[in-house]
Symmetry: C2
Subunit: 412 residues, 2 copies
């Protein structure tokens, strides 16, 4: 490959050198399916993370935030689905510590080098003994195989219907660097962050502060631009582990290697974020808002997120109803500053492109053409603000009967 | 009745002295049902109003805001359902002027004494000739009968399933004062304000500034505390007309008469707001959040609105699933400041009361008991913050299959 090319490669969290994974059915809540995953690197890793801004943080989020803040290197992360370990008080934090201590015992590393993450029902306690047993079982199964990463990715799914993983590789001064990740998330998904867990592993050698800087910048244009239902979760966690085994010259400044790494990270995060949006609970299609020529980046983001986050817009997308006034309405309460007289609106998909609103004036358009465009599995509304030079993409999904069905009795 | 008693009386906008109403089937969008209403007082009225904070304001909202700001007295308001006259540019504002001018011609009043309001599809033009014809027809039908007010109230319904009107009377220095109102609103309902139109008429004699002050205070605890789908509309309008025919000594200061008037206004607005919430699109029940002992009034409001506004909470209420963690999650992203360790949560309805969360710790509770409580037509979650002395109630509804059905193809 060329010097600056980013190439898709196989797998997810076990794609990068030195990373292993395993999964098991610990019987935490679900029966008959795997519900725990373990990612591990013998080589200690620099780490960075971004966590939910919800005031109510799950115990595992508090545990991981402490780890990231400590500046210490990590060896891995243990994840479970079924129970979120949120709103569980001190007992919940104890469960995190005991899980990390189980890893410490079987792998001979410090408990303060092990992150934990949970997803599932809020307000229930984790069965700690089952988790400890799960850690022991998984420790014996850890593997660098691509398939081990895929199984780990599947084990953390809750209402997700598709497995979400991706990996890329690129060259830095003659050394191949690999970066791969997995995500889960389907409901309780909203910017800042979504109800999602996402773990990226990479063998790059990079200074910790730059790793965190790249994460923060990429997250704002990827995971923070998706919404399924407007509910920012208690458990949202994004973590990246970098074990330096690629052997590249360490990245210590914002040079072109740093930019290449950031681009690779963006590629993987954008894919995972879009896939989560299109796999939103009950979704039948991906709903994208592409905001063009806004007067600021922040306004572009607000406008896009408000449009894909509106229940009324989402229901219209489900019904293939070109009721574009709902998008304008959502833009109006987004908090962004604009004049409706400047706005142009289009529907777009692989089936074509149709202008429906032009500088404050609704257009007479062909309803059949609109339905044809909206029936595609990925539908975009293109919003040209004609006011500045800033753009943003936001992703969501349609609101369907199945969303209600899934969430009317999630716990049973 | 006693001096300070507020008594429910019959009717809505025609309950107060001197107010007449009429309605007609103008064929604006719907066929075979009434879709225009007209409220009129020969005696000129002081007025006050509150309007949507959506950046995209319907033409009629701009028209009415200009009227309220002008300080001039009003004679009435013309309302239509079917088309919202939003995102319609200058042509939309012209439609407002022409409608008001039609009233001016038939009733011999100034066009600048006539408010207009619309509800329905955004981004479509009003058929102005039909509105003008409708005004002429209604002018001939104006009546002070209770029934005329009820018919007007029904004519402005869109996806509403129940008619919403209420009137009360009370005494001020030996004179009977009456205050009545009507509302429509079912979807696109969210604080600041809901997608709703609400008109109150009263024969009280009150100084204009105090009228506006009372409105602003009452709205914050009533109409701004309901949400159906999180979509703040382009058309939200609350207006009150006061024609002074009760003959009371004019209210010119914040004395006890002012307080009595405000209490009457609160009584009517709270009823109309709650009724709109429970008639939310597709709703099967009223969902109330009662926040107690918060550290500030604004925090109490934020907490309540976030809980009743959460799709996940609303779906759980529909499914009678006591998944209280979703309420805590919504509280966590509400923007309010609190500690989960202080919080107590209860479910409550006419079937009983059940504690589910106690100072940060989830309780083992009887699921059957929870289902019994949640099956009631009005379900409350009582949230004791144990942090201060401020309280707020918020109202919403459950999220159901029918919400999706109604909104997937609203325009057809």
């Amino acid at each position: 490959m060329s010097d600056r090319e980013i190439r898709k490669t196989l797998g997810g969290v076990t794609a990068a050198k030195g990373f292993t994974a395993a999964s098991t059915a610990a019987g935490i809540k679900y029966q008959g399916r795997e519900d725990m995953a373990f990612i591990f690197s013998e080589e200690p890793c620099e780490c960075a993370g971004t966590f939910t801004r919800n005031k109510v943080k799950a115990a595992c989020v508090k545990w991981d935030m402490d780890l990231v803040a400590s500046g210490k290197k990590l060896h891995g992360v243990v994840i479970n689905s079924g129970i979120a370990n949120a709103c569980t008080g001190e007992k919940g934090y104890d469960a995190c510590r005991k899980t990390a201590e189980a890893v410490a015992r079987v792998k001979g590393v410090g408990a303060d080098s092990v992150a934990v993450a949970s997803t599932g029902v809020i307000g229930m306690h984790l069965p700690v003994e089952k988790l400890e047993k799960g850690v022991e079982d998984m420790a014996a199964l850890l593997s660098h195989d691509i398939e081990a990463g895929t199984k780990a990715s599947k084990a953390i799914m809750t209402t997700d219907t598709v497995n979400k993983e991706m990996a890329v590789s690129f060259m830095i001064d003659g050394k191949e660097v690999t970066l791969g990740g997995m995500s889960k998330g389907s409901g309780m998904i909203h910017p800042d962050m979504c109800t999602m867990l996402s773990f990226i592993t990479t063998d790059i050698d990079i200074e910790r502060g730059l790793l965190q800087k790249a994460v923060s910048e990429v997250i704002d244009d990827t995971f923070n631009m998706i919404t399924v239902d407007g509910d920012t979760s208690t458990n949202d966690t994004f973590m990246i582990l970098a074990n330096s085994l690629a052997g590249n010259k360490k990245i210590e400044s914002e040079d072109e290697d740093y930019e290449l790494f950031k681009k690779a990270l963006f590629t993987v995060c954008r894919y995972l974020a879009r896939t989560m949006a299109s796999d939103g609970e009950g979704a039948t299609k991906l709903f994208e808002a592409r905001v063009l020529n806004a007067s600021s980046k922040e306004d572009a983001r607000k406008l896009g997120r408000a449009v894909v986050g509106s229940n009324l817009s989402k229901a219209a997308i489900f019904g293939c109803d070109a009721n574009f006034g709902r998008f304008l309405c959502a833009m109006g309460y987004s908090g962004a500053d604009f004049k409706e007289e400047d706005v142009e609106l289009f529907f777009e998909s692989r089936e074509g492109r149709l202008k429906v609103f032009d500088h404050g004036v609704p257009l007479d358009f062909d309803e059949d053409e609109a339905v044809k465009i909206m029936k595609a599995p990925e539908v975009s509304v293109v919003i040209d603000m004609n006011e500045g030079e800033y753009s943003a993409d936001a992703w969501g999904c349609d609101l369907t009967y199945d969303y209600v069905k899934i969430n009317a009795d999630y716990r049973s």
